[in-house]
């Protein structure tokens, strides 16, 4: 019986709500807010998911040589020193570095590969599976381009050949051999694969030197110990484990989302001001409504409940529709403009796949970032409405 009465108040509240124009404005504002915060959270969630999916491939330990805070090239004989540490599965030297392309002001990652040696990264191996290694062995002046580089080169007419500057000012001409496939563009977008000899020339590296050394271990629980042993043997080496890399990635994206939410904190308060303003300036019809209700025997707490139902109905509707719109925007339209904030700042922007990642936690975060503030904004206006005097209204 009591539930029946509550339900009737609820239905009545919706009827009143639909009659009023201001409720549509408030609904629109709330919906837009939910939409923005939800889109930002969805993008972060799916990028994080993609990172976690791809991080399986990262090497367990990367050994760098750091002197005076600057990374140096590592002599090859460092490998012989650590090869006897038990538990190591493989040690692979890497020849790679950044090449500053001053025409467009971007950095490419130049990766030197030896077609006969195994790859340190499985996805890259998958990527060049379709390329015949025989052709690569015969000559030295080939290059394989990642997707971002491909697009940039085709804009400036580097279709079949490209010129690169060596540290001593001489140019070398490389022939385009093939492209990398589109998958997992997050890591291969700015990559140029070239032969190890050419890479050494471009990076100004002597023949028995490498950029860094990648170590994989059998037992993942031993990573920290083995890293410590390596640091013990190689005095000037720094080790970076898989977990360090993943944490720093996560922190970067958390930081970006946090920046976003802080910005929208400002918007939330703007919304609060608008809502208070809208509800505070009671219209004559609204006053009359309350007056009639009170004159027909409604108590203050009944009116309070009426108003509470109104606003919770409003905010829940806005929440649901905003989240649905955000799902469509992010996962179907692939987040056209907002994505630029999350991908890099250089003109070689990474393209993410945006894996579907909507979970309860994300929704809870959006919910708790919006709903309490709306409810908080309506407490005082609601109270002012509910405590109106019948006498004053009809005067």
């Amino acid at each position: 019986m009591k539930i029946g009465k509550e339900f009737n108040i609820f239905l009545f509240s919706i009827k009143l709500l639909l009659k009023r124009k201001s409720s549509y404005y408030i609904f629109l504002i709330l919906m837009v807010l939910v939409f923005f915060i939800a889109s930002a959270s969805f993008i972060t969630a799916s990028i994080k998911k993609e990172l976690i999916l791809t991080h399986e491939e990262l090497p367990d330990i990367v050994i760098q040589r750091v002197i005076g805070g600057r990374q140096q090239y590592i002599p090859m004989d460092y490998i012989d020193k650590i090869v006897s540490i038990p538990g190591i599965k493989s040690i692979l030297p890497r020849v790679w570095g950044y090449y500053y392309f001053d025409y467009s002001g971007v950095n490419f990652s130049i990766v030197g590969i030896d077609p006969l040696e195994p790859f340190y990264k499985k996805s890259l191996e998958e990527n060049i599976k379709h390329i015949k290694t025989d052709d690569l062995i015969k000559r030295d002046d080939w290059m394989i381009l990642g997707n971002g580089v491909r697009r940039l080169f085709s804009e400036i007419g580097y279709v079949d050949y490209a010129y690169f500057k060596k540290p001593n000012g001489e140019y070398i001409k490389l022939r385009r051999f093939d492209y990398l496939t589109q998958e997992s563009a997050i890591f291969t977008n700015d990559i140029i694969l070239i032969s190890q000899n050419t890479a050494r020339k471009l990076l100004g590296m002597d023949d028995d030197y490498v950029s860094d050394i990648v170590v994989n271990v059998y037992n993942k629980n031993e990573v920290v110990t083995i890293a410590a042993k390596i640091r013990d043997i190689l005095k000037d080496a720094r080790t970076v484990t898989k977990k360090d890399v993943l944490n720093s990635y996560q922190n970067v994206f958390n930081y970006k989302l946090g920046f976003f939410i802080t910005l929208f904190g400002v918007l939330i308060f703007t919304m609060m001001v608008i809502v208070i303003d809208k509800l505070g300036g009671l219209s004559e019809t609204e006053k009359l409504e309350i007056g009639v209700l009170k004159a027909t025997g409604w108590t203050t707490s009944d009116v309070l409940r009426l108003k509470f139902y109104e606003s919770s109905f409003l905010v829940l509707q806005a929440f649901i529709i905003g989240v649905l719109l955000a799902v469509i925007y992010v996962y179907i339209l692939k987040a056209p403009i907002m994505m630029n904030i999350f991908s890099g700042y250089a003109s070689l922007k990474t393209e993410y796949q945006l894996i579907f990642a909507v979970d309860f936690k994300t929704l809870f975060l959006i919910f708790i970032a919006i709903v309490p503030f709306y409810i908080a904004a309506i407490i005082i206006p609601t109270y002012r409405i509910a405590t109106l005097d019948t006498y004053e209204v009809f005067k």
């Binding site: 904190g265 936690k361 975060l365 708790i368 407490i379 609601t382």
Partner: protein, 324 residues
């Protein structure tokens, strides 16, 4: 200000709401204590009676917001575990700073206090002449101060979480090393905690049967403390099926079917209803007290059955007890 994750911004926003409305409630409480006089018919008295409604709305809002905010906080701390080296669940993160343990306890206390205030207020509005109003507002001032303390602790906690310091995970915190959580409770070993837990429960049952409601209320507060201690010391090992894993937070995780949320809900609600019989014994009438203690004893019994279910089902499946 140390910035860790976006959830933290949301928590700060919520804290700001508490701060804002807390200050407003403080101002109203001051006016109430100074000026409230039921027999006066001045305009001031009239507006104060209206404000009474407003403040009770604000506190209701606080409660409704505080419960999800509490779980949001726990989830957030839990999700920080991968970024703090060594931490595997919320305990590691909380323990990495000196404030963590106190903050969680303070949050539970504040939830209880807000709930008591809500109940007192409900009875006060029903009485002729609002006889508890002054007392109610003194109590409110106390609650708001406690809430402010909570916010200060929370800001300090987030400021001192460091992603570079190595902390202990729950296994070593509760496994016998002298750490904060161990200092806080009595250092009981083996199954003594279960025995005391059962004794307190039996005492509760007896006092409920003989309708000693005041005594029952005191016992249910003791029951909460003892139950949490025995949960850490004994029952959690059966939930994890690992004799060395003692932790009150890992049961909130997915691997254990989120059973922790059910357990804490039963335990907290049960002991809240029970203890309010004691706290409000001057205000409530006998049938209400009886009703509350009935709800409380049901919830506590249900809690007891759930935790013992784990122990007994383990025994039936493996034919042995865990002894750690």
């Amino acid at each position: 200000m140390n910035f860790i994750a976006p959830e933290q911004v949301v928590i700060y926003f919520i804290d700001f709401l508490f701060l804002f409305y807390g200050l407003y409630a403080l101002k109203t409480a001051y006016q109430m204590i100074i000026h409230f006089d039921f027999h006066s018919s001045s305009a001031l008295q009239y507006s104060l009676e209206k404000k009474n409604i407003l403040v009770s709305n604000i506190i209701t809002f606080f409660i409704v917001l505080n419960i999800p905010a509490f779980f949001f906080f726990l989830y957030f701390i839990d999700s920080l575990a991968p970024t703090v080296p060594g931490a595997m669940c919320a305990v590691g993160v909380l323990n990495s700073t000196p404030y963590g343990g106190y903050l969680v306890i303070l949050k539970v206390i504040n939830l209880f206090l807000l709930g008591y205030w809500f109940l007192i207020n409900r009875f006060d509005l029903k009485t002729y002449g609002f006889i508890y109003t002054r007392m109610k507002y003194w109590f409110l001032i106390f609650i708001i101060v406690m809430l402010f303390f909570e916010i200060i602790l929370e800001v300090n906690l987030f400021d001192s979480i460091s992603p570079t310091k190595i902390v202990s995970c729950c296994g070593s915190v509760f496994g016998g090393e002298p750490k904060f959580f161990n200092n806080l409770f009595l250092d009981l070993k083996d199954s003594w905690s279960v025995l005391i837990f059962l004794l307190v429960f039996i005492a509760m049952l007896i006092s409920y049967i003989f309708k000693k409601l005041k005594f029952y209320g005191v016992l249910s507060i003791i029951f909460l403390v003892v139950a949490i201690y025995s949960l850490i010391d004994f029952f959690s090992t059966y939930i994890y099926e690992l004799p060395t894993h003692r932790c009150p937070f890992c049961i909130l995780q997915k691997e254990y079917h989120y059973i922790g949320y059910l357990l804490y809900f039963l335990l907290l609600t049960g002991s809240f209803m029970g203890s309010s019989v004691f706290v409000l014994n001057k205000i409530i009438d006998y049938p209400t007290g009886l009703k509350w203690s009935k709800i409380s004893i049901y919830l506590s019994t249900f809690y007891l059955l759930v935790v013992f279910f784990y122990v007994i089902s383990y025994y039936f499946r493996t034919g042995r007890w865990l002894s750690g």
